[in-house]
């Protein structure tokens, strides 16, 4: 099938799915429901899978979302089941890496990173550098940035090194967004992704070190917890 035909099919599908999509939001009990377009056997397979995930205490909403996304994008049932199964595995691995106290946003971010090819060792390295981040938001931001950088062909290990450096300095969220934007511009300008991330991180760290009070912000990657 030609790319033009693929696009036309996708466009036609997006125009025609609203009826299915609107009917698939929730069931009569208000719980999320699987898309109606799926074949009964596919729905049964996914419902069994989702029930098992619910039993082990992992979030199930991302699984419903993944199935709904597949329907919108015109994926066939086999592909949707494969995508949901893959997400289940990655959520399980993310839970193993983060522990049971992690929130859904962080879990799905780490699952996405694993899906993008980031190794569990690199994720652990990033988690270890996230001190003083009570709600895990900065760690989640760093992981979302990591996934974006990897999508731009930055090697995962190089991206993790840069982000761990920023995390250990407890920089605000805006710094991650700025780094992402700068690296993107450099890559679009023709620079090698690994060189772009290294140079931009160095420049950012230098700028941070020159700011007053920089010594107080920079902390060792891991601090022992002290009882009060």
């Amino acid at each position: 099938m030609t790319p033009l035909a693929c696009r036309a099919m996708l466009a036609a599908l997006i125009m025609t799915v609203p009826v299915w999509a609107r009917a698939q939001q929730t069931d009569v009990t208000g719980r999320p429901a699987l898309p109606l377009r799926l074949a009964p056997e596919t729905r049964a397979t996914l419902e069994r899978l989702i029930d098992s995930v619910r039993t082990v205490g992992l979030p199930v909403n991302p699984l419903f979302d993944k199935a709904a996304e597949g329907v919108l994008k015109g994926a066939d049932d086999r592909r949707i089941v494969a995508a949901v199964q893959s997400l289940v595995r990655e959520l399980g691995s993310a839970r193993s890496l983060l522990g049971s106290a992690s929130n859904t946003a962080l879990l799905t971010a780490v699952a996405s990173a694993l899906h993008a090819g980031v190794s569990p060792a690199d994720v652990r390295r990033l988690v270890a550098s996230s001190t003083g981040d009570a709600d895990g938001h900065l760690l989640t931001t760093a992981i979302v940035t990591l996934v974006d950088l990897v999508a731009k062909r930055v090697p995962p290990t190089a991206a993790v090194s840069s982000l761990a450096e920023l995390m250990s300095r407890r920089v605000p969220e805006s710094q991650y967004l700025a780094l992402r934007s700068e690296v993107e511009q450099d890559i679009l300008a023709g620079r090698a992704p690994d060189v772009a991330i290294a140079d931009r991180t160095r420049a950012r760290v230098r700028a941070l070190d020159e700011q007053p009070g920089a010594a107080d912000r920079a902390l060792p990657a891991k601090r022992p917890s002290t009882p009060r």
């Binding site: 996304e69 940035t145 999508a151």
Partner: protein
């Protein structure tokens, strides 16, 4: 068997008048009545007896069946009303919901005829969240109230999926078109 109602309707006007007299008489003598009736048009006494006897009341349905049918209708009506109430969409909330934050989505698409937002927050429903063209005619905007969390999303521009160029990208897409990611922190 002859229908008594039919018999009375078929009688001549004179006979009907006689029957009226018979009905009105308080204690008519049977012989007198039979003689009178024989004189009128030669109809048989049997027919007249049937006509003068009060016709048994007839039901189109047995009362028990009618009551049961009424109950079934009432139950069906109540069920339909309950189903209608349950299927109604929740009313839009007027008061601000705790922990929900306004997020403005914006896309520059001057040539687009229609833009909508799909993502984890609306179960990828392409008609639920249409963007509005802003005054400059180039930008499409929509404010959505969301709970803190991480959301994958995309725009649908004239039926085609388009990533948000201003947001981080989600890698390793399963379905062939990458999404954007929104990370929303609680206040």
């Amino acid at each position: 068997m002859r229908d008594p109602g039919m018999g009375e309707r078929e009688l001549s006007p004179r006979l009907r008048a006689a029957i009226g007299v018979l009905k009105e008489s308080s204690a008519p003598d049977a012989t007198w009545r039979a003689e009178l009736l024989r004189r009128i048009d030669g109809f048989s006494v049997d027919v007249i007896q049937i006509a003068t006897r009060p016709a048994p009341r007839r039901w189109s349905l047995r009362p028990s069946i009618a009551i049961a049918a009424g109950l079934v209708c009432a139950l069906l009506g109540a069920g339909a009303s309950a189903a209608l109430l349950l299927s109604r969409q929740p009313e839009p909330r007027v008061v601000a919901e705790a922990g929900v934050l306004p997020v403005r989505f914006r896309l520059v698409a001057p040539d687009a005829g229609q833009v909508s937002l799909v993502g984890d927050f609306n179960r990828w429903d392409p008609v639920a969240l249409p963007l509005r063209r802003s005054a400059d005619g180039r930008t499409w905007e929509l404010e959505v109230r969301l709970r803190p969390g991480r959301y994958s999303y995309s725009f649908v521009v004239d039926g085609r999926l388009a990533r948000d160029p201003a947001a981080p990208q989600e890698a390793g897409d399963d379905y062939g078109s990458p999404n954007s990611v929104l990370l929303l922190r609680g206040s």
